[in-house]
Symmetry: D2
Subunit: 319 residues, 4 copies
């Protein structure tokens, strides 16, 4: 039985270790391994290649995804999904390992409901915003990239009276922002999920600045869309020269950390074992309380990820 | 009630975030926080200081331990332990948070059995060799330092026909070696716990070299004491120019990773809460399957850590 | 004869190694060394401390400046400069080593023209915009921080069809932008000194995108104030999803590189030797064609730094 | 006229940026560019390929050399050199850019004296031991890798009373060791060029340890072959637990720094321009006092690199 791997939507560090393990472990299990290039677009256009060990040599330490990714409008149309299916069928591919997020999983659910194709999704997004799993591939690497930036700012921060505002990724989910704020000791953290309480903070920080605090670090989640507003507010309220950094896609690069490599390997082994041992697979591998498990794609995509309460609590006592 | 924190034995990255959180959270709980400098030696010599927030500002991103550490022969003698106790008593310190490993925990068990002093240990050693916990503070940082070194070697490795042998830390425990071997795709991994099977490996690698493999990476655990032997064996058997790196204490430095900071904060909060809510505390905080718990020090020190089976298995199919 | 060191204006990586060498080398020369904290504000407020070797132990690898910096409005008034002079006189300080940029040097020129105080300036700014010297302290570290960010973006860039726009520091000077563009192979570089030629670039890039180019990297100098404009232009012209990173003060942090440490040591030794061997010193140490020399402050501050022609040329053939 | 590039002997960071620039600039000059794979062995075996821009896309940030390198015994025999020449002649290659060190340059001198082939060498070795040039490609990257290791050791060093001994590369030349010692403030530096004066150092350090010094850092050049001896000496003389790190080939990896990329680009442009404008080229590009120039290979290989006096002096006053 032949299996294929695809990455779709935004890339995440850890995808390359997953691709490497996919090839090695599929062959080890005695099956054929295929690489689908350029995401769903490539699936439609038949950019599918039988994998060799050589294709995936020396890639575990590289960010991004060597098989590239895309967003596909065509995949919303039946005729292109049919074409995609025919490409796979011609090669004898029965199962797909899918590296992606919510949008990708929804597309796969549709796809596998129409055609005789099985898949297991591996939650892969630095936003960490997928329901049903505590961890998505790429998050640890992204957090350590942010940490490195914040550590650098800390060096210069203590040289001058200034405020620093750092915008981190997260469209709808403040996970990266909140963890970054905790591990860097930020004074301010603004995320989409929580109303930002200016008054209380203003009182607390004003007192601290009077007592000698000489810098303020604010972490703003991109999805909160408040970077300019907070910038002005800090300058006006505390009379502190305020500098903005927007990390952007730096957070998606970087050599995958040890944690992301180990998770990539484990996620992939679970995915392959499941595909080889079940028909009609429509699952996502999830990771909770130190254990891997499987969840119906239906459940994953029809629920919304909630930040764990202990992280939400942390926002209220940042120090 | 006053609490104090001490680091003892080898230092580990993550100790500074733990010390920072100890001070902040102890005051937050309404108690007094003390820092014991220079480990058990300093405890004997009364190098104990009431902590201020200023003492621990700007330390979360620094490796090592700002309160320093030591190994103490004097602490084996009753009179010095008594002196240590009197120092604590004079300051009203009733509970200790202890950052250390097996040896330290044994010393504390003795100490708290003789005197009215409570403690909670936080397993802190990059060797990850403490019974009862899947994770010891510092391991994630150490692994990422090793990863960075291995990624650098990989760059140069593919430029030339050569073998590379990298010795990593681990006195009795091959944890760092085995995880490093997995995430770097090493061909050879030698650890104290497993007999090294030369013959099988020789056959496998000879074939691969004949088929075009142009480098070999070997990870050797310091505790295996086989670095020279493997060095000669590779050179003689495979006729590959072989270069040795011994990482040494580089593995103990480095800015603590996000994971080690979060673990440090959580370990410390659990330790403080326990100390404040129990008398006669004689525990170690342990972390298993994503949850924190407490284990009697007696149980921790009288058992030996075993590498998890899935890691041991991995040695047999390194690729 | 006593000497003092001060950092003023924006901080730069390499200031700490300079401060360390200042203390060590001044004592080695048999003179007394003083540290002035908080820049010109601290000089006015007498935050001056006799230095010990302990004060500067373990600082060479830290970004920023441990003696902190400031901008001072008061120093524009004679009475505060007089107060500053009296502070120095009371301690017997005859010479100052001044870490700063143009603005600071102008202030020192005024100061030393009025009072019996000598100084030697060390050009210190990551903008590299000081007349008379090819190199300012901090530039190599800042460039390597930018490089690291660009290398990370490159990983993710090749995973997707996208454009990346990275804003780097440089108020009036495109040095950081242009060197970053060269070493990262950016397709677009916009700096304050050069008119941005959209038409030619549009033609060239449109052709390349038609031929298969799947990402575009643009480096924009902060001082060009064109980040939003270029952002819209790329999206509209090339129909490429475009992501922005603004590096901000991350560029001022980071452990000083080897080059910046060596330059810091050499700049400082030249400065001290000069102060000890001349009266009426009013100089800046400059570095050109691999040699150190001295230039009258008057000449430094009354001319404008020009980007070297070979760098300007490079903008026209970025590839 | 066709040109080719080859890397030979040990690899150095910066070779990839040189290869990238070679391809881009040769085509820009209107000539054909060839890549010779696997060093002199590949030259003999005709592993020569016409370069495309695609071959060298995305390589500037990677250590090592994508065209690989080798050591060749066969090249010492005339018949193999003749074969190598015939390979080049068949492709119309008239000039070679040669990335390598002394040994390679000697081989090329022989080669070009026998056959109608021109070459320009680019000094490429992290040892920085080539006569006639202050700088060899790769040195800045190697030094920053060492610096990073030493900064990590510094973190842990100050946590404990200990000595650290770090062996760095350098077969016959102490350049890396001496610069590393200076920028890290090492107490001991042992290089092949200078007799190690134990007595003076013993006296100085014993006093400092008595005065409170709690760690000692020693940098040993690999070529001094004294790592074990110094290890024992420190442990016995100062009664300090002493830990050894041998950096090995980590020093050859790592993303090329900004300085090495700029130097790689400039070295390569000078080399190509020279080849295209001269017949009978037998030169090495050298860099001194901030300027590029050319030196006869004869002069380069028949003299021995000497450490500059100011670096040798530094050994006598390490602090």
């Amino acid at each position: 039985m032949a299996l294929a791997i695809i990455s779709s939507g935004g890339d995440a560090p850890g995808m390359n270790p997953a691709i490497k393990k996919f090839v090695d472990y599929t062959y080890k299990r005695g099956e054929e391994a295929y690489l689908i290039y350029d995401g769903l677009e490539g699936l439609i256009d038949n950019k599918i290649k039988k994998a060799t060990h050589q294709d995936v040599a020396g890639i575990v330490h590289i960010g991004g995804t060597i098989i590239r990714s895309s967003r596909s409008k065509r995949f919303f149309e039946y005729k292109y999904r049919e074409q995609a299916y025919n490409n796979l069928k011609a090669l004898g591919v029965k199962g797909l390992v899918v590296l992606g997020g919510d949008g990708t999983f929804r597309a796969m659910q549709k796809f596998s409901s129409e055609f005789d194709i099985n898949f297991v999704g591996i939650p892969s997004t630095i936003d960490n915003d997928i329901y049903g799993t505590e961890y998505c591939l790429g998050v640890d690497t992204a957090l350590n990239v942010i940490r490195d930036a914040l550590d650098k700012i800390r060096d210069t921060a203590s040289s001058f009276n200034r405020a620093f505002l750092v915008e981190v990724m997260g469209r709808d989910c403040g996970y990266l922002a909140i963890v970054s704020a905790i591990i860097s000791g930020a004074e301010i953290c603004v995320i989409p999920e929580v109303k930002f309480e200016k008054e209380a903070l203003e009182k607390k920080l004003s007192q601290e600045i009077k007592d000698g605090r000489n810098y303020v670090l604010a972490i703003i989640s991109e999805g909160a869309k408040k970077t300019s507003e907070i910038h002005s507010w800090i300058q006006d309220t505390f009379a502190l020269e305020t500098r903005v950094s927007i990390l952007g896609h730096i957070q998606r690069g970087g050599n995958p950390t040890v944690y992301d490599r180990m998770m990539a390997f484990d996620f992939t082994i679970y995915a392959i074992d499941y595909l080889l041992e079940h028909n009609n697979s429509n699952k996502v591998v999830v990771y909770n309380s130190g254990k891997f498990d499987f969840m119906e794609i239906e459940e994953v995509v029809s629920n919304r990820y909630q930040l764990p309460q202990h992280l939400l609590n942390a926002i209220n006592y940042l120090d």
